[in-house]
């Protein structure tokens, strides 16, 4: 994706705090974002897995959808996503995809049932397109982009204790619960979820309270600020997709191994089967399997194999890597990519083209590290 020139970059509301914390800023999805702080990517990653990390993800899009009544709203949103929206209980969140007419993925998102509306969090790079798509595709539904709120993520086994010091009730939440909590004197919208494979919370906080909340969390000695670099290696070890890399407008949910985000009611034989963009292809792939599949890949040497590395088998190019890095917690390189279904079987040996040579790679299950959610 082309990055805009530096002058067009937007600053995060917490830019001053990032500078004070020694954040190294880089352009990402149109924003100047901290890629790492003084501790560095490796330490930040390991700290998040062993204690707690605070991420500023305020670049992401926050959207509220409102309809005449909850059922009308849920059924309307189901016309854009293969996920079941009707039936999601109030106070619960679900992962979903926006699909296109050819069954590709426009974006991945989280949506929460908050009674009289849905709260949706979308990727930064897609937010303008997503909002336009929802406005065009959801007649009669109010699509409101939420501005003036930061989004912070507190992740890691120490997240519950650190946040419960400020609001004890958060300890009662379970994975994918959402609620309203007062933090730093402001009403925050909170979910027990994240993008690291660890327990944790995502917190939508009004801009004018965000710095006080971030400082209160960072005052806890178990909490370190974490940049985009570690966010990427954490999500990769957790087997989570990065939009625009592991999934895009050409990859279907079934190819991407995200069929778990299509509940039974939306599949063939379900109460509300189909009725979303690309249903023909997606339901057919659910029935008879996709031709290619997203898999975990473990390069056997120590060299990371990154996005774009081609995969080979029996002398032929058979696929490519979509994300790759060194996994600090698995202490080895980890990658994800697409392979023909016949090769997408854990234990299969393929090769990756690295610096003009073919190096062995083993197909593995995902995630590379079991998730540590509080269910």
């Amino acid at each position: 994706m082309a990055e805009p020139a530096d002058d067009d970059l937007k600053d995060l509301p917490l830019a001053g705090l990032h500078a004070e914390l020694g954040g190294k800023m880089v352009p990402f999805a149109g924003y100047s974002m901290p890629v790492q702080y003084a501790a560095g990517v490796m330490k930040e990653h390991l700290h998040t897995r062993s204690a707690a990390g605070l991420f500023d993800v305020s670049h992401m899009g926050q959207v509220i959808l409102k309809g005449a009544d909850p059922e009308t709203l849920a059924l309307a949103f189901e016309s854009l996503t293969p996920a079941a929206v009707l039936g999601l209980k109030e106070g619960r969140q679900r992962y979903g995809l926006l699909t296109n007419a050819t069954g590709g993925i426009l974006d991945d998102l989280m949506f929460a049932n908050r009674g009289d509306h849905l709260f949706v969090v979308v990727n930064a790079a897609c937010k303008a397109a997503d909002i336009a798509h929802m406005r065009a595709g959801l007649p009669g539904i109010e699509v409101e982009e939420i501005t003036g709120r930061c989004l912070l993520a507190l992740q890691g086994p120490g997240a519950e204790a650190a946040l419960a010091k400020l609001a004890p009730e958060v300890a009662e939440m379970r994975f994918m619960d959402v609620g309203y909590v007062t933090l730093a004197g402001a009403e925050c919208w909170i979910s027990r979820s994240g993008y690291t494979g660890e327990d944790g919370y995502e917190i939508s906080v009004p801009d004018d309270a965000a710095e006080a909340l971030a400082r209160a969390l960072l005052d806890d000695e178990s909490v370190l600020p974490i940049g985009l670099g570690a966010r990427d290696s954490l999500r990769l070890e957790a087997g989570l997709c990065l939009y625009g890399h592991d999934i895009d407008e050409t990859t279907s949910p079934v190819e991407a191994a995200l069929q778990w985000s299509i509940q039974k009611s939306r599949r063939a034989g379900g109460d509300r089967a189909g009725g979303f963009p690309g249903a023909e292809r997606i339901l057919a792939e659910l029935e008879s399997g996709p031709s290619r599949l997203r898999v975990g890949l473990s390069p056997q040497g120590r060299a990371p194999m990154r996005e774009g590395v081609t995969l080979h088998h029996g002398g032929e190019e058979v696929g490519h890597i979509t994300s790759g890095a060194f996994g600090p917690s698995v202490e080895a390189p980890v990658s994800m990519g697409y392979l023909p279904a016949a090769l997408a079987v854990p234990g299969t040996e393929v090769e990756g083209a690295l610096r003009g040579r073919l190096a062995p790679v083993t197909v593995t299950g995902l995630p590379f590290r079991p998730a540590n959610f509080k269910r």
Partner: protein, 119 residues
């Protein structure tokens, strides 16, 4: 000790030149997770890519600063690439090269010039 614009340091040791990367380069690269060293005995020309290092961010090449023969490599770095970030100008040298033409060293910066170069 001399320095290249590619942020390598070159330290004469008897009739050999020891090569590593500067503190500045190590800081810019971030945590190093992979090092691939050349084979001892390889004849190299100036600007040949002789070492590959991968940080948490990206791959980089270390170039041969002069013509010569690789006579020794720092094998322990392969198992412990993190050393490059911890002690880039000491323990984490990459290779020793026997110069074919020692006068090629004259082209490189001294420490004051390098410090000015990185500003």
């Amino acid at each position: 000790m001399k320095f290249t614009e590619e942020h390598e340091w070159l330290r004469p040791e008897d009739d050999l030149i020891v090569v590593g990367i500067t503190e500045h380069a190590a800081e810019q690269l971030g945590d190093i997770v992979f090092v691939e060293l050349p084979e001892v005995g390889t004849e190299v020309s100036k600007d040949d890519e002789v070492v590959v290092i991968e940080s948490v961010k990206a791959a980089s090449d270390i170039l041969a600063p002069i013509d010569g023969e690789i006579v020794e490599v720092n094998e322990p770095l392969v198992e412990d690439p993190g050393k490059v970030g911890e002690d880039p100008t000491g323990e984490a040298w990459f290779f020793k090269i026997k110069p074919a033409d020692p006068s090629q060293m004259d082209d490189y910066m001294d420490e004051a010039a390098y410090l000015a170069y990185i500003g």
